[in-house]
Symmetry: C2
Subunit: 411 residues, 2 copies
């Protein structure tokens, strides 16, 4: 087996929510595969598995390197993405397409749903006796893949969140009030916790941070905010979109019921949390009602960072870009030379100071469909994040903007 | 008068919504005033006129230049800001404070409400025979000051909006659907129009741009979106928060009525448009209801950029930072040497290629309380923005991130 090179075409797909570095991974795979023994064409499938099903491919092996470099730096998925999750019928169509194209190498860049898709495709190949190399290339701003120190896309999204909170903390200091910022994260609070990077001085916000790892209690929330506002005259709050009650029901569903609104769901049955300001507005309304009687001049505002977090141009972490490129290269190299038929690339932290990463090929089944959450050791008092998390995150995000204050010595 | 130097203390205040460059203007005034003949102390009033009323000042003349440089680069108002609009009683208190402190130079950094405050303070000084130099230093992301080519703070906010739309256009291309982005701008569409900078290729978004200069008609809006979505399979939309119906009522008020919600107003009687996702969510709901019967797989999402537009750290335009510094310096210089007792600094465009700005001292009354809106010549078909606007805006915003696509030649 090891001596005989598997010969055929390769297909690369991009899946799930785009990031600013997902094209780095695409380019990493392309530049490693092309011209290598056993590889004929390097194809991109348009809009992930949907492009395979519909037999929609583009050739990538002849794109000049300088254009590949520019593609790598471009946010979002250059091949298009999808949220389709293949069922058995869908998979049969995928195989007709793969066989027709003599595809022997399949790379799927995405999160935990996408790694599961990769696993299913791989299992079907085995059942049918179709020789295939199937590798998952990690990508998710949620940072929720198990067996990974962190995932490509996350650090740049965290950098966006940190920059946003640095500015908004100063904004809130200048015009004091209560400000809620809703951050992406359905099950994992890594991205919301990144707001802690905005804290430099003692009284800097975010003063409260709510992640989905902790059950959200609206009365506790109101009391927390009242406490901070009474003390500082202002309160900056970070909230994960995925906060939920003790039964696991998203807080946004409670809102939807109260407003008799329907919520959209995706193909995976997940409720729409992003692309709406409803959660923030709801929390702001509750705070106004509860605290206005006590604080008459109270201003409460809510912003929902939304899709900007994953694709904002010009706020990419250098470490993130480099690592996203590397996981693509490592996946291609593993498919060509490791002797393994399938797997997923995982990023490990080799050292923290100076920061250094390592890459490992792990089992598809080890990562597929599983969700990692924020370690409880980083969560303090159920409503904020520790400095230890800053140490974890800082090397990934890199240098943050200058912040200087006028040290107030009143005349 | 010209030969006799007015001797006393100077006060600088910051007012209205903060920007990422408002501290540049503060530093521009401080570094020009300190050590000059006639100037004793250079004081900052905390939270604008509120700090004068409450006799809350800090000394600024002894801050080392390197710290001033770092303050200049820090987003938001280092002295704190306010939305207070002084009434006669308030003004009496202001004068007690100014007289007590022997303040003879007053600089107020802000937008059109702030320039009006500056005018009122100046008029009162004249009435009372109190010799005062009162200068307004322009600042507003809305870009709506008359007699100005543009205003400090606007270019950086426009850069943020452009970066956001560049990313979101690519995001929307990867996962097609209808996406609404709500941009700040109560009466003027300059910032919303900045989204046009994201358009490079023929089919790039934003495909539709709605500004407050055009009466918003919900049925026309739905028809516009349907037309684009039917043609491209996606539609990216920029909407000003201040869009209104033919009677001038904000569209968000129609929403508030329908949801029986109360809207907050500020001290100037303006309805709360920012710090809520309500307008975007409302428009998304209307589109879903209207277009789902025709397009069954339709996805509609809305993001509201919110306060990030004015204070996001690390997305400052170089031209904006430089000009914000210059208007501070020019105001201080005018107060010291022009022979004028009051005025406002206005930015003029001397040449476009290479870009060059000039600065003029204009009458306070010429700018105070007035609102400039986007020239109709930039608005095409009531729902998009011309390339001529790109020519106006590009030199202010500077270089934008790399965008490269895989030119699709299907296999």
């Amino acid at each position: 087996m090891q001596n005989e090179v598997l010969r055929g075409n390769a297909v690369i797909g991009q899946s799930g929510g785009p990031t600013v570095v997902i094209n780095q991974s695409l380019v990493g795979v392309v530049e490693t595969l092309r011209g290598r023994h056993g590889i004929d064409k390097v194809l991109g499938c348009l809009h992930g598995v949907r492009g395979i099903k519909n037999d929609q491919y583009v050739e990538l092996q002849d794109i000049p390197q300088d254009r590949l470099e520019r593609i790598a730096q471009t946010p979002s998925a250059a091949l298009g993405s999808t949220r389709d999750k293949p069922n058995p019928d869908y998979c049969r169509e995928i195989f007709q397409s793969l066989e027709k194209r003599n595809v022997r190498y399949f790379f799927y860049i995405g999160g935990n749903d996408s790694s599961d898709t990769c696993r299913i495709v791989n299992d079907l190949a085995k059942q049918r006796g179709y020789e295939l190399r199937a590798f998952h290339v990690p990508k998710t701003i949620d940072n929720d893949l198990v067996h990974n120190d962190h995932t490509p896309g996350f650090a740049s999204a965290a950098k966006f969140v940190a920059h946003a909170f640095i500015g908004d903390n100063l904004d809130n200091r200048a015009l004091p009030g209560i400000k809620i910022n809703v951050v992406m994260g359905r099950h994992a609070g890594f991205l919301t916790a990144a707001s802690v990077l905005a804290r430099h001085q003692q009284d800097d916000g975010p003063h409260l941070i709510y992640v989905p790892e902790v059950v959200f209690d609206i009365d506790k929330f109101i009391a927390d905010v009242d406490h901070i506002y009474t003390r500082l005259g202002r309160c900056l709050i970070a909230v994960s979109e995925g906060i939920h009650d003790a039964s696991g029901n998203p807080i946004i569903q409670m809102l939807a019921k109260q407003l008799s609104q329907e919520l959209q769901t995706d193909a995976h049955g997940n409720v729409q949390l992003s692309g709406t300001g409803a959660l923030g507005d709801f929390l702001a309304e509750r705070l106004k009602k509860a605290l206005k009687p006590k604080h008459s001049e109270l201003r409460v505002r809510a912003d929902t960072f939304g899709y900007l977090q994953r694709c904002f141009a010009g706020c990419t972490s250098d470490v993130d870009a480099r690592e996203a490129r590397m996981v693509g290269r490592k996946a291609a190299e593993a498919a060509l030379t490791s002797g393994k038929t399938d797997g997923s690339i995982a990023i490990q932290r080799v050292s923290n100071d100076p920061y250094q990463a390592g890459y490992q090929v792990i089992e598809l089944a080890a990562v597929a469909g599983k969700t990692r959450t924020l370690d409880r050791k980083y969560i303090i008092d159920d409503n904020t994040i520790s400095d230890a998390y800053k140490e974890y995150l800082s090397p990934l995000v890199g240098k943050l903007p200058v912040v200087e204050s006028i040290r107030i010595s009143r005349v």
